[in-house]
């Protein structure tokens, strides 16, 4: 991984609501064919965690140096 | 021990305190109010909690919450309040949380006759909340019995993890008699889990069918829900789990019914006529029965102390043995007599009902007894 942050999405919990895609300011995330979220541009992640906080299904984890605990 | 002049409702409070009640939540309602008043006076002095809630629904909820932390908890009410409590009586039955609910019966339906006695809540005590559920109900006929049975209510509740209803009535609640305020010999506390928190399943049971619920806040974290749940405590819609749980919570009482059921019988072995009563009508029945025996009439009396589970086995056996006519005095239109007809043929049951707010008088009952023995 070249970015400072790793975005992990667990497809077992993702319900394809697209909220994470909407809130990401850097367009890191995109939709798979089945609607679930995938990480498309991992290097662009700035670690803001908005996707994680907006994920109603606890499917997203941002790892790395975080702004908030 | 010197006897003291105590009111029925006060005797209930004294016994509850002696049994170790540490949490009372209630809402004032005639004719049970003295229980809340005395609790308010006495519990804080013992370092225990009294709270007057906003209604009876909340009172039931609060005592279940307190009981889940391990506290012996109770509430007291009368007809309309008992109706409101039904929701959470069902919750306690379903989640197997021990609580004692005192219902000092007054006349109904609805607000009925607040200051007058009745036994119209007998079926409600059994079937007031929805669904097939277990319950134990005890009924005192004197102030001393109120004291005795309040202990018993706590003991049974803790032992079987079930709500126990102390089914009093206005007469018993309000009259004063000389009683002994003794220290209870036997105090039963609920079972404690034997497993470690890691292995603990709150609703796993052994042959007794009774779960050991750990008090909240002692390292055993689990989930409690009024939904059908499996051994882990979490909801399930599996037909097997549904059937298993509903059967178990009922069977845990049925299986132990012989241990739970208590009654007093007087002169029944050779009886041509058996009086069957619980609560204050026992007083009339006893007077009539004793007088009849003195005259040589073969009249006996069965006083039910446990109203639920109903002593069908005892009564059907007694009927087979004696083929007696059963006379059922009760302060309702026939809730007790109807239940009896499951174990004694309907045509062998004579009903003596009174629902005018007065106790059945010995004279009223005596006339029926004489007619029956003739």
């Amino acid at each position: 991984m070249s970015g400072r942050f790793q975005v992990e999405i667990d497809p077992a919990y993702c319900k394809a609501c697209r909220l994470c895609i909407q809130v990401c300011p850097k367009k890191v995330l995109a939709q798979r064919a089945d609607g679930k979220a995938i990480v498309e541009n991992p290097d662009d992640c700035i670690g803001c965690q908005l996707c994680e906080w907006h994920c109603p299904d606890f499917a997203i984890t941002i790892k790395g140096e975080k702004k908030n605990g | 021990m010197a006897k003291q002049l105590v009111q029925g409702n006060e005797a209930c409070v004294e016994a509850a305190i002696a049994a170790g009640v540490s949490f009372f939540a209630g809402y004032p309602i005639t004719p049970s109010t003295e229980i809340a008043e005395k609790m308010a006076e006495k519990l804080p002095a013992k370092g225990k909690v009294f709270i007057q809630m906003e209604d009876e629904i909340a009172s039931m909820a609060a005592i279940i919450g307190a009981s889940l932390t391990g506290a012996k908890s109770m509430t007291a009410t009368s007809g309309p309040g008992f109706s409101l409590m039904q929701e959470n009586i069902g919750y306690a039955a379903m989640t197997e949380v021990p609580v004692v609910v005192v219902n000092v019966q007054r006349g109904g339906p609805s607000t009925g006759t607040p200051t007058l006695p009745s036994q119209g809540d007998m079926m409600q005590a059994r079937w007031g909340t929805h669904g097939d559920h277990p319950v134990i109900a005890l009924a005192p006929s004197s102030v001393q019995e109120t004291y005795d049975l309040t202990f018993e209510a706590f003991n049974l509740s803790e032992k079987y993890m079930v709500p126990v209803v102390l089914l009093m009535d206005e007469i018993v609640g309000h009259m004063r008699e000389g009683i002994e305020l003794y220290k209870p010999e036997k105090i039963i506390d609920r079972r404690k889990p034997v497993q470690s928190p890691e292995e603990y399943l709150p609703y796993q049971t052994d042959d007794s069918l009774i779960p050991a619920l750990a008090p909240f806040g002692q390292g055993y974290r689990y989930h409690v829900t009024g939904l059908i749940h499996d051994e882990t405590g979490f909801p399930s819609n599996s037909p097997k789990v549904i059937e298993g749980l509903v059967e178990r919570i009922n069977k845990k009482i049925d299986k132990h019914a012989d241990e739970i059921i208590t009654y007093n019988s007087f002169d029944v072995d050779d009886a041509d006529v058996v009086l069957l009563a619980y609560g204050s009508p026992v007083r009339s029945a006893r007077q009539v029965q004793q007088a009849a025996r003195q005259e040589g009439l073969k009249v006996g009396l069965v006083q039910m102390i446990t109203v639920w589970p109903f002593p069908h086995k005892v009564l059907s056996q007694l009927y087979r043995q004696t083929e007696a006519t059963f006379i059922v005095p009760e302060l309702s239109l026939g809730q007790l007599a109807d239940e009896l007809s499951k174990s004694v043929p309907r045509e062998k049951i004579l009903r003596v009902n009174r629902n005018d707010g007065s106790l059945i008088t010995p004279a009223q009952l005596d006339a029926v007894v004489r007619e029956a023995v003739r």
Binding site: Y13, G69 | V49, D55, A62, G65, T69, N88, G219, H223
Partner: protein
């Protein structure tokens, strides 16, 4: 501790619909808990009935899923028996303000130390979309097919009027602010109410042509504000934070004075 360690992962995924705001609110709550490093054994979470109240099953504390509207009186029993425990109520707009309205105002009046998080999705979700006391005037619901002519409660004003000593409002669209509002509620000694605006795309959204979950969240973002000059927007923030003797403390003092500290 990582906030996700407070979840009962074997119970997930949860029953909430895709895009439901309740998971966002639950996450904010757990992050607030994690920041305070609350010990799981010392916390009781009590819920009533409804979509929101299923939250109790997903969190690894002493959890109690009760009857409709009754979470607060159950919690009252726990808190009074174990004043040392942190007792948190997770409830919904219908659960807390309709069937449980009486309990809500009385617990506020007593200033009992409970943290009550009201997941407000403006509708009864579990039973598929009937109006609640917090459904806005002339909104639609299955039991208001011609528009709801009831006027709604403003939960903040209700809690304030009833005597709650901490009252805040947050929204799923502002998870960081929501987390702070809940956190301050957890820190507050007394009856704390946090209204958490939550989107229900399945029922409320569909009935009121609010669009997808994304669009509903966007609506929230645009129509609710943390600004102190909210104008026509729904204000978010802390509205009440006052000190008043807390109920279990008062009970304890009262018991000590009556019993002589026995």
């Amino acid at each position: 501790m990582n906030y996700k360690n407070y979840l009962r992962w074997n119970k997930l995924p949860h029953i909430w619909c895709p895009g439901c705001g309740h998971g966002i609110v639950l996450g904010a709550f757990l992050r607030a808990v994690a920041q305070r490093e609350l010990n799981k054994d010392d916390v009781a979470v009590v819920s009533g009935i409804g979509c929101s109240s299923r939250a109790a099953g997903y969190v690894d504390f002493n959890t109690l899923h009760t009857a409709h509207g009754r979470a607060i009186p159950f919690a009252t029993g726990i808190k009074l028996s174990r004043p040392d425990m942190k007792v948190i109520v997770l409830t919904g707009d219908g659960d807390a303000t309709a069937i449980g309205g009486n309990h809500f105002i009385h617990a506020a009046r007593r200033n009992l130390d409970l943290t009550v998080i009201v997941f407000n999705n403006n509708i009864y979700g579990m039973t598929s979309g009937q109006f609640s006391p917090m459904t806005p005037h002339i909104n639609f619901a299955t039991t208001a097919p011609h528009g709801n002519f009831d006027y709604p409660f403003d939960l903040v004003e209700l809690a304030k009027g009833a005597g709650a000593t901490y009252v805040a409002r947050g929204a799923a669209a502002y998870p960081r602010q929501l987390e702070k509002a809940i956190g301050q509620g957890l820190d507050h000694e007394g009856f704390s109410v946090i209204e958490a605006m939550s989107q229900c795309p399945t029922y409320y959204g569909r009935k009121n042509k609010m669009g997808t979950a994304e669009q509903m969240l966007k609506w929230q973002k645009e129509n609710a504000t943390v600004s102190s000059n909210p104008g026509e927007k729904i204000p978010l923030g802390v509205f009440v934070q006052v000190e008043r003797p807390e109920y279990t403390k008062l009970t304890g003092q009262f018991i000590d004075s009556v019993s002589g500290g026995k």
